[in-house]
């Protein structure tokens, strides 16, 4: 049997899967409230007040949740974007890899730092 090389894709794929679950379950309702109903005034926006939001993100559990939603959703999106660029026959695989997953890493880092400063 010819030699096959083990791919490291499982690492990003698990992040993709977790991110997909998070995005599927949480993002629609979050966008509905924070992006549509509250700005339109249909729903009262005291839940998003500075004190409440600060308290939520400042609690270790709330902060972890916010960090997870941002980070995992980003890994999910970047994994899909990386592969979609391949589907569109946009080459330069190494460069694409660095840009896509590099962005995900930076956003993860940024979210992590911000959450930690709020604790």
């Amino acid at each position: 049997m010819r030699r096959y090389q083990r791919s490291h894709e499982p690492v990003v794929w698990s992040l993709f899967g977790a991110g997909g679950m998070v995005a599927a379950f949480l993002l629609p309702v979050l966008i509905l409230f924070s992006g549509v109903l509250m700005p339109l005034g249909v729903v009262d926006s005291t839940a998003l007040s500075f004190d409440r939001a600060r308290g939520f993100a400042g609690h270790w559990l709330g902060g972890l949740l916010v960090f997870s939603v941002i980070s995992l959703s980003t890994w999910h999106a970047m994994h899909r974007i990386f592969h979609s660029l391949n589907d569109l026959k946009i080459g330069a695989r190494r460069l694409r890899f660095m840009i896509c997953y590099g962005c995900a890493a930076c956003i993860t880092l940024g979210a992590g730092v911000l959450v930690l400063t709020l604790q």
């Binding site: 083990r6 791919s7 490291h8 589907d87």
Partner: protein, 251 residues
């Protein structure tokens, strides 16, 4: 005046043509005719040089696959009544080279099927005196669906990833691998695992899912591949991302 249907066929004769070209036919139409029936009429009555594969004419041999208006189908299982009075365009299965007319060169497909070790592998041989293997209905159910593949190749034409990169093992080969790994009589998972774990194994798949849509036997290769992704992830973790891999070639 009998009804006719327009059949356009992408012809290619390697000894004559530099490129494929479109030939137009008008075939007498009956509502019960299949694409294969139309091809047989054309070969018998209109142009004897037309080349195409066929055998059982009942969707079990897997020979007559071709592109019908851009969609991979079995000629014997595709009916003109679903297109009439529109014209029907036939072309050799996509993502394979054209040998002649509607005959696709499926050598790569066959090589890949053989590569995944499509047979029961035992690490401890069961002596004949012990009698046959027994399986519960549940054990059979775990692999049966994936054993229904008729090797027609439609899924390779359906798969954009195989079209973009034919290093990819492809839906049928990986579904067959899944069939053997899931067979309780088989002990060969470890030998097949390096293929699964490779980029050209399951990791080229982006779960387009069109393979399962076109499969005439409802094998659901997309499910097979994506279940193998989970198993490959577990294998990755267990072997610490490759640090736990032995450097020996599996036999």
């Amino acid at each position: 005046m009998a009804e006719t249907i327009g059949i356009d066929i992408v012809r290619y004769r390697p000894e004559k043509d530099g490129e494929p070209w479109l030939q137009h036919f008008e075939v007498p139409y009956e509502p019960d005719m299949s694409v294969l029936d139309a091809l047989l009429y054309i070969k018998d009555e209109l142009d004897g040089t037309l080349a195409f594969r066929w055998s059982c004419r009942m969707a079990i041999c897997g020979s007559c696959g071709c592109m019908v208006n851009g969609i991979p189908k079995l000629g014997c299982k595709t009916f003109l009544r679903d297109y009439y009075p529109q014209r029907v365009q036939l072309e050799a299965l996509e993502h394979f080279p054209i040998e002649r007319d509607l005959i696709a060169g499926i050598d790569d497909f066959v090589v890949k099927l053989e590569e995944i070790k499509p047979y029961i592998i035992r690490s401890d041989e069961r002596p004949v005196a012990e009698g046959p293997f027994t399986q519960t209905p549940t054990e059979v159910d775990r692999f049966k669906q994936f054993s229904l593949c008729i090797n027609c190749g439609l899924c390779y034409s359906a798969c954009p990833q195989y079209g973009l990169n034919n290093e990819f093992m492809g839906p049928a080969a990986l579904a067959l691998l899944h069939r053997y790994n899931n067979d309780s009589r088989d002990q060969g998972r470890k030998l097949r695992q390096p293929i699964v774990n490779a980029e050209e194994g399951v990791w080229s798949c982006t779960f387009v899912g069109y393979c399962s849509t076109v499969c005439p036997q409802a094998v659901d290769p997309a499910a097979a591949i994506n279940q193998q992704k989970v198993l490959s992830l577990v294998d990755y973790a267990v072997h610490a991302g490759g640090l736990g891999d032995s450097q020996d070639e599996p036999s």
